[in-house]
Amino acid sequence: MDYVSLDPDRRQALRMMSAGLMGAGLAGCADLIPQGVGLALLPNPLTDPAVFNFALNLEYLEAEYYRRGLYGQGLPAELIGPAPGPVLGGRQVPFRTPWIREMLAEFTEDETAHVRFIRQTIAASPLIEISRPAIDLQTSFRLLGRQAGLGADFDPFRDEESFLLGAFIFEDVGVTAYAGGADLIADDDSIEAAAGILAVEGYHAGAIRATIAEMGPRMVAAADGISRARAAAESPNNRRPNRSSVITTLAKEQPISAGELFPGEVVIAPTDPQGRSFPRPPQDVLNIVYLNPDKNARRGGFFPQGVQGVVRHALNANSSRSA
């Protein structure tokens, strides 16, 4: 479709119409087809922006987390859309170690750039880029703190160690979400962009793991608790036997202390036996960020009103295909 010759308002109206039609079609199907049957969301150029919108939810979460921790304020108004949800919690972290602050400031800029880039990518399509969903950076971490054994008062903004653990929660999930989206994307430019963002999330997550590992056994134990909590929130169908026998039922997780091949391994890269980072279907990603293993969960945890996007229900149903 070519909107170049249309005036902006008409173009916007057309985009909203087609996005609405597409959303009604896909979401409608999802309601009709029971989960487990597996709605085929076949990759095509029209569904690509819907997949990007799903990813945009996670980028908003990461960007708001990092920006509040580093600068004490969130994303600028031009990046959060016309109907942004509120953000609860988050404040500037009292960093003690300059190199750690400098590294996390870089990650903050990367995540902000991802929000900007994905919004622009979707804006160039028939779909509307979502506004920032409502985000909870306070009660969510307390709930996760209980689930992960970090204590019910877990506050990632308290100090740099806590902030690294908070980053650890998101970055691993970001990698798996992009890996799980790789076969949902059709357009060549889109697949290359998604691959490029996936790699960046990988760099971030590897750096965070290495930094935590060098901080000693207590930090590693805390991160391993988070890995176990994430595993508990995702589909039981994804569970695999784990050769280490340290932790027997982890699905798409490999805790820092759970090396599987050589003695003394420090797991800076969680992978399957083929050495690939795990792909997570959207449903599993949602269960983790909702902090709720219920497959019918529609909101909760970091997204108190759920993620945004017209095909989130269709993506939910589709997830059974990749499981």
């Binding site: 790789a182 691959a195 290495a210 060098e214 800076i268 992978t271 083929q274 690939r276 980072s277």
Partner: protein
């Protein structure tokens, strides 16, 4: 050894010009029969195999690098049986802590898995390991980049730098190849490989950054060398401080990693810029497979 010899014959019997003509022929064939599904599929699957085989060369290099450095073992010992041509150089590194050694062992384990996986995908068409020379490769890098006493197996710092030298490049090639893969399941696997290599480099580059000087300056020299070798575009960034920020992740203004072609990667591995380079640096007789010339 028979398969290597075949590869070598193919290598030396196949000039750059012929390779270019063959490539043009393949493109012409696929455009001449736009509706010929069978023809197109054959061409496409061959392309996927070529891409995976190219990546396998880099995985062989990385596997022996990390295995020798962290375990004092060779890929042939771990994988059981000869994987191809000999590997020269490399020995166990003395790490400053069990955690740093454990990180590198984790990477080594992943690389072993990548070799097995790429071999499984390509099956009977899997390339054998080409001859690899760490001694000559690193000596060339040290001279070209002007890094004094650069010896990755003699110092923990240089070992992390050597890992960065290879693996940032592997990531950019995987990123650049993403659009070329036709198989959807292969795209998902390539994404998984990209993810894991990203993890490796995030860990390695953050440690280099944490080390401060002279690690950062040496990393900058390596980045500068890669940029000189791989053509006019700026596709590289070192883990140094920029303004008030680190630069752990080499990215463009959109927060996306750079893409490289296999030819860019060969320029870096062979240690020579420009077109028509067939061997050198870490691969004294060139890489194996159909993608082997810059």
């Amino acid at each position: 050894m028979e398969r290597i010899d075949q590869d070598r014959r193919a290598l030396f019997g196949f000039t750059t010009g012929e390779a270019a003509l063959a490539a043009m022929g393949a493109v012409a064939a696929s455009t001449a029969f736009p509706l010929g599904e069978a023809v197109a599929q054959q061409a496409e699957s061959a392309t996927d195999i070529d891409i995976v085989n190219f990546q396998l060369n880099l995985e062989y290099l990385e596997t022996d690098y990390y295995l020798r450095g962290s375990m004092g073992m060779t890929a042939d010992q771990v994988l059981g049986g000869s994987q191809g041509a000999p590997v020269k150089g490399g020995r166990k590194v003395r790490f400053s802590s069990p955690v740093r050694e454990g990180m590198i062992r984790n990477i080594a384990g992943n690389e072993v898995a990548h070799v097995r996986f790429a071999q499984a995908i390509t099956g009977a068409r899997a390339i054998r390991r080409p001859p690899i020379d760490f001694d000559a490769g690193f000596a060339a890098v040290a001279a070209a980049a002007g890094i004094a006493n650069f010896d990755p197996f003699a110092s923990e710092m240089d070992f992390f730098l050597g890992g960065m030298l290879f693996e940032d490049v592997g990531i950019s090639v995987l990123k650049g190849s993403a659009r070329k893969l036709r198989s959807l399941s292969l795209r998902e696997s390539a994404a998984g490989l990209l993810g894991s290599e990203g993890y490796h480099m995030g860990a390695v580059r953050s440690v280099i950054y944490k080390m401060g000087e002279p690690a950062r300056s040496r990393a900058a020299a390596i980045s500068e060398l890669r940029d000189r070798l791989d053509g006019p575009q700026d596709l590289d960034q070192p883990p140094v401080k920029v303004g008030n920020m680190a630069n752990i992740v080499p990215t463009n203004e959109n927060g996306i990693v750079f893409g490289r072609t296999p030819q860019h990667a060969l320029n870096i591995a062979y240690g020579k810029p420009g077109k028509g380079i067939m061997a050198g640096g870490f691969f004294p007789e060139g890489v194996n497979g159909r993608i082997r010339v810059t």
